[in-house]
């Protein structure tokens, strides 16, 4: 087996040095009747064989780059510069552990410090952590943090929150002692969330752009929340939007969480992604996840360490702010490198290209007979009403070689009033030809 260095002679010599007769002697603590003798699985395979097996599975999927592609709703197809994938595969980043030994992990630590600074600036917040698993898990951690900060238990979730994010909160928060008030799905952005905020509310969770693409003015929600002593948790799933729209921090958010996949990271069928988490400095000791901080070494040189660890599970055990240990280090690295390449100049332009492409697509689709655009405002994603079941129409469009978007029924099954809605995303990867192909295919399917 190519990954195992020992020859049989090595093994024999080592057993002799240990002073046992056979390898079985080293497993003597496992009761004899529990020992396994062979697994019902294939035998070892060489590289070519493994490549063939996995290549066959890969070939049965339609890659986003191979078709006109408009699927979003929480994960987005963007172009990642070649430099990013090269750098994250460097041995020293890829095969390093969590930087608990700062003298020999300054590379990872400085990257995390740069990452935290980038996220703080993007979101308009004072402090960001060194990443979470993904946007959905960051959201539920924010709800639990609000519970700790306000000593209240009621979380109010907007109907514009991604339904999967809502489900993650609804699964964990009640087990942690919270009550969750989820407002009905809000495809038209008409909900009156202010009416649900009261003196028992710990936090209000609002996504902007919403899962249906609407840009939500957070300022009045923040004002109402603060009036009654609650916190505003602002959520985003498309971080590129922050290049063009007012950051949540400037609108009064207390905790900002989101998905960072769009910058630097592949779609990968849903993971690994990178959760972003930022808040006010005064809340930092209730923040979950790892934090990197600046300090000096014994010779006075600047260096970085993981810090404020007394919040964390390996110190506080059952009193920790969260059970989180692993983060998304390598995905955060990819994010940081891509964001460094972009800079604010490149990010703003990337955001304008995304917005322009979505505007053009929305205008074209609106002209298809029977199609209605639901959004007044949007960034790179919007919702249309189709004259029929959206999932069926998407399937017909697959046959025409177009991946058209996410039927709302995929996220909100069993709700007849939502069955004709389709969430459509358009990013910088879409060309005029892609849009034309979509519009033509949809016109044919609806004809």
């Amino acid at each position: 087996m190519r990954y195992l260095p020992h020859s049989d002679a090595d093994r024999q010599a080592m057993l002799a040095a240990i002073g046992v007769g056979s390898i079985d002697d080293l497993f003597a603590d496992i009761p004899k009747d529990l020992r396994v003798h062979g697994l019902d699985l294939p035998k070892a395979a060489g590289e070519m064989s493994v490549e063939r097996t996995l290549g066959r599975l890969s070939a049965r999927n339609v890659a986003a780059s191979s078709v006109p592609f408009f699927v979003g709703a929480g994960a987005y197809k963007h172009h990642v510069p070649a430099t990013v994938d090269h750098l994250i595969q460097r041995s020293e980043f890829l095969t390093s552990y969590t930087p608990y030994q700062p003298e020999i992990t300054q590379g990872t630590l400085q990257v995390l410090f740069e990452f935290q600074t980038q996220i703080a600036h993007l979101t308009g917040m004072e402090v960001a952590n060194a990443s979470m698993y993904d946007g959905s898990t960051a959201t539920v951690e924010a709800v639990l943090m609000a519970h700790r900060l306000t000593k209240r238990k009621k979380a109010v979730l907007s109907g514009g929150l991604h339904p999967h994010y809502r489900a993650v909160v609804e699964s964990l928060s009640p087990m942690a002692g919270d009550t969750v008030l989820s407002l009905p799905a809000d495809p038209n952005a008409t909900e009156d969330i202010l009416a649900s905020i009261d003196a028992d509310t710990s936090c209000v969770v609002v996504q902007s752009p919403s899962v249906y693409g609407h840009l939500i003015d957070l300022a009045p929600i923040a004002a109402k929340a603060h009036e009654v002593g609650a916190l505003l948790i602002a959520v985003f799933t498309e971080v590129v939007s922050l290049g063009l729209i007012e950051p949540p921090g400037a609108q009064g958010a207390d905790i900002v969480v989101g998905e960072g996949q769009s910058i630097g990271n592949a779609l990968s069928f849903g993971g690994p992604y990178v959760g972003l988490f930022a808040t006010r400095l005064k809340f930092v000791r209730q923040m979950p996840g790892r934090l990197c901080g600046e300090t000096v070494d014994a010779e006075g040189r600047r260096g970085f360490v993981l810090t404020l660890s007394t919040r964390e599970q390996h110190i506080r055990r059952d009193k920790a702010t969260s059970n989180i240990c692993t983060n998304s280090g390598l995905c955060a690295l990819a994010f940081t490198i891509h964001m460094t390449l972009l800079g604010q100049t490149g990010l703003a332009r990337l955001a304008r290209v995304n917005h322009a492409n979505a505007v053009k697509l929305a205008e074209s689709l609106s002209k298809v007979p029977g199609v209605t655009l639901l959004n007044d405002s949007f960034f790179n994603e919007f919702t249309i009403r189709l004259p029929g079941n959206a999932a069926d129409i998407v399937e017909k469009l697959v046959a025409k070689g177009v991946l058209a978007g996410v039927p709302v029924s995929r996220l909100e099954p069993g709700k007849a009033e939502l069955a004709d809605l389709l969430i459509v995303a358009s990013t910088e990867v879409n060309t005029d030809d892609d849009r034309a192909a979509f519009v033509a295919a949809l016109s044919e399917v609806l004809a």
């Binding site: 087996m1 990954y3 035998k43 390093s96 740069e114 993650v168 059952d318």
Partner: protein, 526 residues
């Protein structure tokens, strides 16, 4: 004494002798100092060429950004150099032995990286029509098949994103199962030697944590568990092999007692690497166990993540597996994403994450499994245990083991008795390893052992590599005993940084870069 994040002392007691280089740049040949992005980047520079879009009417409502983002950029060559230089300040498994006990730092095959980047894997969206991702769902089913055969369990929840997330998933399933029976059990038993994530997870979802005392050798006695059992006990969380590197030999009796009391057995699978192909946790009475794909199945640690923590479940818990899950169907595996798609008897407790889990890690782990095969995974476990015992045999006369010299599993535990009277602490000893070119072992964990040093060499190390490692540690022990205290307390002297002041970092946190005053940005090159 100041303590750092691991509960260990930080800066050396004596003042460090300066080893600062006498070069103009502060560099030391290949070790090059690198400023922060915010000090070298410029706001009008970008390393990405994109055409400005043609005229269009924005649809941003009143929410267009008012202030610039304040993020500098770098050109492509500058970006490359910046991050290459940073990378050179990191230790990695590709550059040397990484003996972190309980972390399983084994070789990361590059074939797995290549497979994760196949277009039908890396470039597939989680919400594409299911008709366009049949291969991805099949891959998940295949990974599940391997995990179930290796563990002897009934079903698997693939979606948890890391080990601690898997623990949470398992404990949520247990909480749901208890609620489904109309019970209100609220106590979880956790041995002293457990990872911090165990009690943190149990407490997160409202369980009260009760500590189980360990035997002197760190294992758990059935009597200790039985003494704590009551109708209020929901579960025990046990690591097996445990964090002292020992197989819990009474695990079956403990499981039987737990089950007889109506409670569940959660097994922390962090140390699964020792027993793959040697024992099945299903046979041990386990009800739920997470599997760290980034440990046992070699997906890269990436400087702290991402991980992946699928959870295998027994028949008693299988019905509670969260959405989404893969169900075997007559026409192949089916991805079940919503309650509307459930069959009778399927009662998921909810959802752990937005999508289907860490697909990028699934494919790497499956690539690892296919490469090893049933014979290879067993050989890997045997070699991992062989290597740990070889290190033990090479050091047993000089270093002290907390419960005497006995066979260990995949990791060997020493305490600091052998350093008594030398003035050298476990931390000092570990930092001296850095100067010798090694990453330190896990220190001060498990908490049940004084000055613990937990060494897990993994199966990836050759005999020659282990011989040099053993010789190095023997030399260090001799130097400590010979009174060379300075060497240890000053260590590391040759790393990119000397010991860092962790107290200062925590007392006045600087968690992002701030402009010093006055600040003048370097003008962009034309």
């Amino acid at each position: 004494m100041s303590m750092n994040s691991q509960g260990r002392p930080t800066v050396a007691a004596t003042a460090a002798t300066s080893d600062l280089p006498d070069t103009f740049t502060g560099n030391r040949a290949l070790q090059i100092e690198e400023a922060l992005l915010f000090e070298v980047g410029r706001h009008d520079v970008t390393g990405v060429d994109l055409d400005e879009p043609a005229d269009f009417t924005p649809r941003l409502g009143r929410l267009a950004r008012q202030q610039p983002i304040d993020l500098p950029g770098l050109s492509e060559p500058e970006t490359m150099r910046h991050y290459v230089r940073l990378s050179q300040k990191n230790y990695s498994i590709d550059s040397g032995l990484y003996p972190l006990g309980s972390c399983t730092m084994k070789h990361n095959p590059r074939l797995n990286e290549k497979m994760a980047r196949l277009p039908g894997i890396g470039d597939v969206h989680p919400l594409q029509p299911l008709s366009t991702v049949g291969g991805a769902v099949e891959l998940m089913a295949e990974l599940g098949r391997w995990l179930l055969e290796m563990t002897g369990m009934t079903s698997v929840a693939l979606s948890p994103k890391a080990g601690a997330h898997g623990e949470l998933c398992g404990m949520m399933a247990i909480k749901a199962a208890i609620a489904a029976k109309g019970e209100t059990r609220n106590i979880v038993l956790v041995p002293e030697s457990a990872h911090g994530t165990n009690p943190a997870t149990a407490a997160l979802i409202g369980f009260k944590v009760v500590t189980v005392p360990a035997r002197p050798d760190g294992t758990v006695a059935p009597e200790a568990v039985k003494a704590l059992l009551s109708p209020d006990v929901a579960a025990i969380m046990l690591t097996n092999p445990n964090t002292c590197g020992l197989f819990e030999r009474d695990v079956v009796e403990i499981a039987a007692a737990i089950h007889a009391a109506g409670a569940y057995f959660y097994c922390d699978g962090a140390n699964f690497n020792a027993i793959v192909g040697k024992a099945k946790v299903g046979d041990l009475g386990v009800d739920a166990m997470h599997i760290n794909l980034h440990k046992t199945f070699s997906t890269p640690h990436g400087g702290g993540g991402p991980g992946a923590g699928p959870v295998v479940l027994s028949e008693r818990l299988a019905a509670f597996a969260p959405l989404p899950f893969v169900r075997a169907g007559a026409d192949g595996p089916v991805l079940v994403e919503s309650e509307e798609a459930l069959l009778p008897g399927e009662t998921p407790f909810g959802r752990m994450t937005a999508f289907h889990g860490q697909m990028g890690m699934f494919v790497r782990a499956l690539s690892y499994m296919l490469s090893h095969g049933s014979d290879g995974v067993q050989q890997a476990s045997e070699d991992a245990v062989l290597n740990a015992n070889y290190v033990r045999a090479g050091l047993r006369d000089l270093m002290s083991q907390p419960s005497g010299d006995r066979t260990c599993m995949h990791e060997v535990l020493f305490d600091d008795t052998f350093l008594e009277g030398t003035g050298v602490s476990t931390l000092d000893f570990a930092k001296a390893m850095i100067d010798e070119g090694y990453h330190p072992m896990t220190m001060y964990f498990p908490l049940v052992v004084h000055g613990a040093m937990l060494i897990e060499p993994t199966e990836s190390e050759s005999k020659a590599s282990l011989d040099l490692f053993i010789a190095t540690l023997r030399d260090l022990v001799m130097k400590a005993k010979a009174g060379e205290r300075e060497r240890f307390q000053q260590a590391p002297r040759h790393a990119p940084r000397r010991r860092l002041d962790e107290t200062r970092a925590a007392r006045s946190p600087k968690l992002k870069w701030e402009k010093p005053e006055p600040w003048t940005e370097v003008a962009a090159a034309e």
